[in-house]
């Protein structure tokens, strides 16, 4: 840029003050309308791809469910979505998924604790076993569980004399869902528990907290948000689980028939709109639950 001229020269008679003698500052650049400039590249590309994929894979199919069900009149919709059989199926699906997620939340913490805090022989094997429900085809898991817990199975034969029936009823459904959901809790908690530094516990101990006070007041609250996320994931997975459940559930209408199975049955009878109606209800309930869990999470993360 040219050096600024001296004031005496500007006011000199030979050089009358004109627009050219005082160089005006350049016009400020226009600020982009929609987003700030960022040094991190790829915003347009990544967001574009994300929205396209989300639309194709998630949003359009979901809206198709709603549109399909809208071919029913409101009375027909209510009759299809809230028939006695459907209500029993919802209750079983959401109930069993909830119980299984709670059980997984408890045992997931213990499993994670053992995996993160201690070194022991066979740790790598245990670590791999936790992931098995992720990798195993769910039908395989379902057949294996049904064989084990059936009244004549390896485990079932000892439960039957005790009056416990662990297969072909809601208990069986819950067992399958516990199997499916465990890795969600463990893998969500693991990094957070690893990050909990030992000196926080030492600080609590030096301030006079016993072991139970340290666990109850320091460790578990710190794990809270991740714990809820793990619980939500296990629960959501349980609600949607089909493959492993149908082998062990027994699939008795009104008793041990899960909602996803009811949808399949409706489809097999070419009652597409009825199937969609049940799907809409499941969608709404799942959405609501995720919303509530997210709200609780946001609240429990207030200190982060």
């Amino acid at each position: 840029m040219a050096p600024s001229r001296s004031p005496t020269r500007i006011l000199d008679d030979d050089h009358p003050m004109t627009a050219e003698t005082i160089s005006a500052p350049p016009r400020p650049a226009q600020r982009p309308l929609f987003r700030r400039r960022s040094a991190i590249p790829g915003f347009g590309l990544t967001l574009g791809v994300t929205l396209t994929i989300l639309s194709l894979i998630v949003l359009i199919p979901l809206s198709a469910v709603a549109i399909k069900s809208s071919s029913l009149s409101p009375a027909q919709f209510l009759a299809a979505a809230f028939s006695e059989r459907a209500i029993a199926a919802y209750r079983l699906t959401f109930g069993a998924a909830f119980v299984a997620a709670v059980i997984n939340a408890v045992f997931g913490v213990l499993t994670t604790w053992a995996l993160v805090r201690y070194e022991f022989p066979g740790k790598a094997v245990v670590n791999a076993l936790v992931d098995l429900p992720f990798a195993l085809p769910t039908a395989v898991a379902g057949i294996a569980l049904a064989t084990l817990y059936a009244p004549n199975g390896w485990v079932g034969q000892y439960l039957t004399p005790l009056g416990i029936k662990a297969a072909y009823n809601p208990v069986g459904v819950t067992i399958a869902l516990i199997f499916i959901g465990l890795p969600f809790v463990v893998r969500t908690l693991e990094p957070v528990m690893r990050d909990l530094s030992a000196d926080v516990e030492e600080a609590a101990a030096s301030l006079g907290a016993g072991r139970f006070a340290t666990i109850g007041r320091i460790i578990l609250p710190a794990l809270g948000p991740a714990w809820l996320t793990g619980f939500a994931l296990a629960f959501a997975r349980g609600v949607g689980e089909y493959g492993s459940v149908i082998f062990i559930a027994g699939n008795m209408p009104y008793k041990s028939e899960i909602a996803p199975l009811l949808i399949i049955i409706q489809l097999e009878q070419f009652e597409y709109a009825n199937a969609a109606a049940i799907a809409v209800v499941m969608l709404a309930v799942s959405f609501l639950m995720l919303l509530v869990i997210n709200a609780i999470q946001a609240w429990s993360r207030r200190f982060v």
Binding site: A204, L207, G208, F303
Partner: protein, 339 residues
């Protein structure tokens, strides 16, 4: 609270972290444990705290053996380098924690706890921040919270592990003054670990210098600086030019460099001269001035001898003009140790 460490030993695997350490700390003292990393200073502090237990030896509090007592039973306040605050609790609840976890009649009433928290927040100049979460505070503020949390239980001894290590220089300086003020206000016996000699010498009543699991010297900041007991202390505390050479007839010689070594027996030796103890002197050894660097009121001069030995000199700025070309230097004071 007096603290005695009696020939404490601690090994991690085969690596000896503490090697026959003895240390006596008087009531109300402010003591620094100073040493390079791996010298055992943190292990010693954690042994005093009851977070680490010695393999041999004894830890006494006021003459009582507490060697295997838990941290809680010893009533120590411990401040960690990384603050170790409870992230899910507000500042006030962090400070109150030590009182809050007490049971039965030991637990003060709620109003009493609240009053104590307010008092401590004032002491560390954080009044009004009680409702914040630690994530909403700066590093210096977090360390103040950690300090008041440790003080809340009225500890018999306050232990700090590199308390200012994670903070920037300005905050570190102000927190240093703060710690001194808090110590003087509460009178609690205080021990802190640091690898920063300026911090140790500037803050503590006495400094214990550790190296390789042993205490090399304990003394006031002046004592360890002016009369270092071992070559390690001489090299570690303060600046020093180090030379390897020989002593003969009360004089130390290392190539062209030579200075007094009164009372040291003849033979191989290491000699140290502080940069401010070197001055131009026509009777001295010859060096060539390489560079003069003025820093405020002082000038630091880099010079070298003909045989390539490097020498650092500190002089007042007024004297700096004399350091040009080739000059002769003599040591006003030196420390020589048999090798």
């Amino acid at each position: 609270m007096t603290i005695s460490i009696r020939s404490v030993e601690k090994k991690f695997g085969r690596y000896p972290a503490l090697n026959h350490v003895d240390l006596e700390i008087a009531d109300g003292e402010l003591v620094a444990l100073l040493g390079p990393s791996g010298s055992g200073k943190t292990t010693l502090l954690r042994t005093i705290a009851g977070l680490e237990f010695p393999d041999a030896g004894q830890v006494l509090f006021e003459g009582q053996d507490v060697t295997f007592a838990s941290a809680a039973a010893r009533r120590v306040g411990f401040v960690f380098q990384q603050y170790a605050l409870f992230k899910h609790m507000t500042v006030a609840r962090n400070i109150a924690f030590g009182l809050d976890v007490r049971k039965g009649k030991d637990k003060p009433p709620k109003a009493e706890i609240a009053r104590r928290v307010d008092e401590l927040l004032k002491l560390v100049e954080l009044d009004g921040l009680g409702k914040r979460y630690p994530s909403q505070l700066s590093g210096g503020q977090r360390q103040r919270v950690a300090l008041s949390r440790a003080l809340a239980v009225q500890p018999s001894v306050l232990l700090l592990d590199e308390p200012f290590g994670a903070l920037d220089a300005t905050v570190r300086k102000s927190l240093r003054k703060e710690l001194r003020r808090v110590h003087d206000a509460t009178g609690v016996t205080t021990i802190f670990v640091t690898h920063d000699q300026e911090e140790a010498l500037g803050l503590a009543d006495r400094v214990a210098i550790l190296n390789a699991g042993r205490i090399e010297q304990i003394g006031t900041p002046d004592e360890v600086h002016d009369n270092p007991a071992t070559p390690f202390v001489c090299g570690f505390v303060g600046e020093a030019n180090r030379f390897e050479g020989t002593v003969s007839g009360g004089r130390f010689t290392s190539g062209a460099v030579s200075f007094d070594a009164n009372g040291v027996k003849d033979g191989a030796a290491v000699g140290f001269v502080r940069p401010h103890d070197l001055a131009p002197d026509d009777g001295g050894f010859e060096v060539r001035v390489d560079r003069v660097h003025v820093q405020g009121a002082l000038a630091s001069v880099s010079a070298s001898t003909a045989d390539g030995r490097h020498v650092e000199i500190t002089a007042s700025r007024a004297e700096a003009a004399r350091f040009t070309g080739t000059i002769k230097l003599a040591a006003r004071k030196s420390h020589v140790y048999p090798a």
